[in-house]
């Protein structure tokens, strides 16, 4: 058994934690009944989800004229939401893949829920380009298939098509990665299940998992290789999303800094969302033993690092817009900060650049209440970042007679709230039927990083 240095904080707290007690703790929410708080949150989420679904159907029925778009601002609220949701998704893959490659053991208590978040967030993201097509029943046009008009193919030079491939690859590979990790844990639930329906369902979901030595060898290898594949994938996805903008000739979009800047922003907003969800899970499901203050602090450190990268990107953008000498570029940035959308720019700067710097204070980054508060602030700030990039760059065109303002309609807002509702409906469902912590991974670090085994000689 490889032991960790005693000076490291234990990752699993509690002197009496055993393999069996981990199983009990993780299976409790699945086998027990949901509490009042869960039902309350779930009802709110379902109401929002129903409202949002109604708005989506209304959009499909009437066309996207029901949104606040106009001739000048033809991308606004929906693409903001798309980029926001895709960005949120990035944290899950970063935690499960990049931290796996770096052998960061603290990821094990949080990777399962972070990956679930990724999958649900990417589903929400994919919805927006889908409905923005207007005629969603023609969505198959984005795939390279010969159509009824002859051999007219998709354009492989277009970042929009790259997006189709990137998002679908990202979603399906993340899903497979997540599910392969879930199979052994479903087997644990299957072997404990008492009711006939639960037994049948979890038997089906666990694919007849045995847990013999060779299966675990393959499991480890597949996890490692999938992590290796998912790592460049996660960086490519948001780079490609940024190229949707960067390859255009709109001032404010046409910059080479976009890919790294978007990736950092994505990780930043995703970690904030993971933080929000983790703090709720920790409280509601009583996982204080597994999601420790140390985990929260680590997350906050990454939020500070990525937030600072985002800050540097904002400032370099500003500097380059002046230094380049391109007057349109210069105007676009001046207009962002001092034009009619100055308030959105102000929210973006305060929430994304200034607020994460507060985590330099140890007291603040180890405070649960403050972490929760700040994670919400960052989520809001990152939504405004995308809004600023998209709307302020479009609303003042080269020709002043084209200048316009964007006013969202109740449908725009309804769909956005609806996706939050659908996301939380799925996520709350996940906490009731799926093992929220990665059982097998937690058990594998119990002896090396658990408080219960500290200072004990466990043989060999």
């Amino acid at each position: 058994m490889v032991k960790e240095a005693e000076v490291r904080e234990p990752l699993i707290l509690g002197k009496d934690v055993t393999y069996h007690s981990i199983t009990e703790d993780v299976c409790r929410p699945i086998e027990g009944k949901a509490g009042k708080l869960w039902w309350l949150l779930f009802s709110v989420a379902v109401v929002l989800a129903i409202w949002g679904t109604g708005m989506i159907l209304y959009t499909i029925g009437r066309g996207i004229g029901v949104w606040g778009l106009n001739n000048t601002i033809d991308w606004a609220w929906d693409i903001t939401n798309f980029v926001w949701w895709v960005g949120i998704g990035h944290a899950g893959t970063l935690i499960s893949a990049v931290l796996l490659l770096f052998r960061q053991k603290w990821r094990m208590a949080i990777n399962r829920s972070a990956e679930a978040m990724t999958i649900f967030a990417v589903i929400m993201a994919a919805l927006f380009p889908g409905i923005h097509m207007g005629r969603i029943w023609l969505a198959y046009f984005v795939f390279p298939i010969p159509n009824q008009f002859g051999s007219l193919w998709v354009n492989f030079n277009s970042p929009l098509l790259w997006d189709v491939f990137a998002i679908s690859t990202y979603f399906s590979v993340s899903f497979v990665f997540w599910y392969i990790g879930l199979i052994p844990d479903f087997a644990t639930i299957r072997d404990r299940a008492k009711g006939p329906i639960a037994k049948k369902v979890y038997s089906m979901l666990s694919f007849g998992w045995t847990g013999n030595a060779m299966a675990w060898i393959r499991f480890e290898e597949v996890s490692l290789v999938l992590a290796g594949l998912a790592t460049p994938l996660v960086f490519s996805v948001h780079s490609i999303v940024s190229m949707d903008f960067a390859t255009s000739v709109i001032p404010g979009w046409h910059t080479t800094i976009f890919p790294p800047y978007f990736v950092a922003g994505a990780v930043f907003s995703g970690f904030a969302m993971v933080q929000t969800l983790l703090l709720v899970i920790r409280k509601v499901l009583h996982y204080e033993k597994y999601i420790t203050i140390q985990h929260i602090e680590m997350m906050n450190r990454i939020i500070t690092v990525t937030g600072s990268i985002v800050g540097v990107a904002y400032l370099s953008e500003l500097f380059i817009s002046w230094y380049s000498g391109v007057e349109y570029e210069g105007y676009a940035f001046l207009n962002r900060a001092t034009g009619p959308y100055w308030w959105a720019y102000f929210i973006m700067m305060t929430a994304n650049v200034v607020s994460p710097q507060l985590f330099w204070f140890k007291k603040l980054r180890t405070s649960l209440t403050f972490s929760f508060f700040l994670s919400i602030i960052v989520n809001i700030g990152m939504w405004f970042e995308r809004f600023v990039i998209i709307v302020t760059s479009l609303h003042r065109d080269y020709i002043p007679s084209n200048w316009s303002m964007f006013h969202p309609t109740f449908v725009d807002i309804g769909i956005y709230l609806g996706t939050i509702g659908i996301f939380f409906t799925l996520f709350l469902g996940f906490t009731r039927f799926f093992p929220v912590l990665a059982l097998n991974e937690l058990k594998s670090i119990l002896k090396s990083s658990g408080e219960a085994y500290r200072g004990k000689d466990t043989g060999h």
Partner: protein, 183 residues
């Protein structure tokens, strides 16, 4: 479907199991497999198992994906319907290559990831609807089991094997039938 009978020994700790396997091996008993609720590092060396070649398979799937994407893009954009987009005509694959790299990369990852996952499911025989084949429900919770075949240990009688297993620190020894082959 082929079924076979095996003798199982259960332990309540992973370190005890590894010590138990080593003790049995020193007495000349062949331990064919072990069941555990989580991956145990170094177990494959103790059991004398070879590391999986699934990563090599993933590499081949990736190469297949790369080749397929090159063939498809070349056919659609260069051969079948070359378009002149913004004064940048599609007449040569090589000159248009930079714009094709993202999709070539994505498709490589797609094929490598999914190909490897499918191989993994078939090699482990973990597919939707298959019955559980672990010797005891507790082996997915907090117990560890070793599997010994009587016919692989002809030097010993069944009673002798069971006695040797019991001496190695087990909490239970039992005999059970399990599915070894589906087809």
């Amino acid at each position: 479907m082929t079924k076979e009978k095996f003798i199982y020994g259960m332990y309540n700790d992973d370190d005890l199991m590894i010590a138990g396997i080593k003790q049995l091996q020193s007495k000349g008993v062949h331990v064919r497999d072990a069941y555990s609720p989580f991956p145990i590092h170094g177990l494959e060396d103790v059991l004398g198992m070879k590391w999986t070649r699934i990563a090599i398979a993933a590499f081949i799937y990736g190469l297949t994906g790369l080749t397929l994407s090159i063939i498809t893009i070349n056919y659609m954009m260069i051969m079948d319907w070359p378009l002149n987009i913004g004064g940048k005509p599609n007449f040569s694959f090589y000159q248009n290559l930079p714009a094709f790299v993202p999709i070539m990369f994505e498709f490589t990852v797609l094929c490598a990831g999914h190909g490897m996952a499918i191989t993994y499911f078939f090699r482990n025989m973990t597919l939707p609807g298959l019955p559980a084949r672990n010797p005891h429900p507790r082996t997915t919770d907090d117990h560890f089991a070793i599997e010994i075949a009587e016919k692989e240990n002809t030097n010993f009688s069944k009673e002798q094997i069971e006695e040797l297993i019991a001496e190695s620190g087990t909490v239970a020894v039992f005999e059970k039938e399990r599915i070894v082959k589906f087809l």
